[in-house]
């Protein structure tokens, strides 16, 4: 009897909070993920190109950037951007601070994926491109990158899915994304176990959809894979 009442209460809380939490996901988690992944990829691409350009200052800059952002915790980076910078007069709103933090962090990690993919393209492909008179830039754009992109889809997909989950860290700098929303409801209802399971479930939904999208993309690129 008592158990039934408790179960009813929990079910009530979960169903009341499901859509607000999902909404926080759609309003903050998803945009945050998509924006930072896109910006991070662009940053990663240029970092990778700089890294293999052979131009010393560019190589050094790219290495330094990757070193800093791969070698320090994402949480600490977010805190510096959001809580630290105001003391030198730079105040960022929570959402832009999160975008900046995640972009810089993802850019550093993904640049290594892209760099490895470019370097994994056989040397013979460069030589074939040169032999038909292409410049280095033409060879890169037309021959190497299309192949490198195909190689980098699975690892980039992985890092995309881990980004979805990492965005929960934005809660710590007051972005009201899913996890933050879940925390609020948990605090108000004293049902942390069920609430956080619910939040985990919604994250799982998002990443399942994304994994599916990733495998579709991989299949598309698989079409002309060299055996």
């Amino acid at each position: 009897m008592v158990l039934d009442e408790r179960a009813e209460r929990i079910i009530g809380i979960l169903s009341d909070s499901f859509f607000p939490i999902l909404k926080a996901g759609l309003y903050f988690t998803v945009p945050l993920t998509l924006i930072t992944f896109t910006l991070g990829l662009i940053l990663a691409f240029f970092t990778a190109i700089a890294r293999i350009s052979g131009i010393k200052p560019l190589v050094a800059l790219a290495k330094f950037y990757v070193w800093i952002f791969r070698g320090t915790p994402l949480l600490v980076q977010l805190f510096i951007l959001f809580y630290g910078l105001p003391s030198v007069g730079i105040t960022l709103d929570p959402f832009p601070a999160a975008v900046l933090g995640f972009t810089l962090n993802k850019g550093a990690y993904s640049s290594e994926i892209i760099r490895a993919a470019i370097l994994s393209t056989p040397k013979g492909q460069w030589e074939a491109a040169y032999s038909i008179g292409m410049t280095r830039a033409q060879a890169m754009r037309r021959i190497i990158l299309p192949q490198a992109i195909r190689v980098s889809v699975p690892p980039l997909g992985n890092s995309f899915i881990s980004l979805v989950k990492d965005t929960s860290l934005a809660a710590t700098i007051t972005v009201t994304e899913m996890f933050q929303k879940g925390q609020q409801v948990a605090a108000a209802t004293y049902e942390p176990l069920w609430l956080y399971i619910e939040v985990a479930f919604i994250y799982l939904m998002f990443s399942t959809v994304l994994s599916y999208a990733q495998s579709m993309l991989e299949r598309r690129f698989d079409r002309s894979v060299a055996k």
């Binding site: 056989p122 013979g124 492909q125 030589e127 074939a128 491109a129 040169y130 032999s131 038909i132 008179g133 292409m134 410049t135 280095r136 033409q138 037309r142 021959i143 299309p146 192949q147 195909r150 079409r223 002309s224 894979v225 060299a226 055996k227």
Partner: protein, 247 residues
Amino acid sequence: MIKLENLYKSFGDIDVLKGINLEVEKGKTAVVIGPSGSGKTTLLRCLNLLEIPNQGSITIGEKELQFQSGTKLKPTQMTLFRQQTGMVFQSYNLFPHLTVVENIMEGQVVVLKRSKTDAKKRSLDLLAKVGLSDRAEMYPHQLSGGQQQRVGIARAMAMDPKVLLFDEPTSALDPELVGEVLKVMKDLAEEGMTMVVVTHEMEFARDVADQVIFMDQGVIAEKGTPEEIFTLSTNPRTQQFLNKVAR
């Protein structure tokens, strides 16, 4: 058409080419033979600057390049020089993300700035020539080695090079596929293409070459007509090599 003077190339401490002098006339086929490690492939790769010689000079057509240790060629200079030659690789090196016809169009469109229509027409003509018209829309991995290599030849031809370079074009092929590639090469030679061929196919050298070049330990040990090399040679190194190959 091709003139090499006193060409040297070393990798670190290892001297691979030790003073190569060579001339190939327009429309002629030079076949380079010799034991592995003799510098044949390096010589060929120097001709389209995939390796940069340390010393000497290379002339192809109207363009002459002089090399000294520390010579840095400008990228545009290298591209223009390379455009005079086409290269066929041992491992084909077709572009796996492009179809057969796109492989042949790529350089025409990107480098020669031909329209896609013109490039496609030329590509299909070349595919017909190498006997692969029905494979135009396939991807390289769907073809046999011999077919891939014929596409490789068509891709090189599409750039209208003055000289075609072949780097052991049949060495990676199953024996039954060698003939189809050699036939295409023989046809090209008969049409008056200037060619430099590095190969282990002695029969091809005997049949097709205008000039046979025997390389050993980084130098040209002997050169001459096929008859002079294969039948009349008294050079002990040449004879030793030919005996080994014949066995």
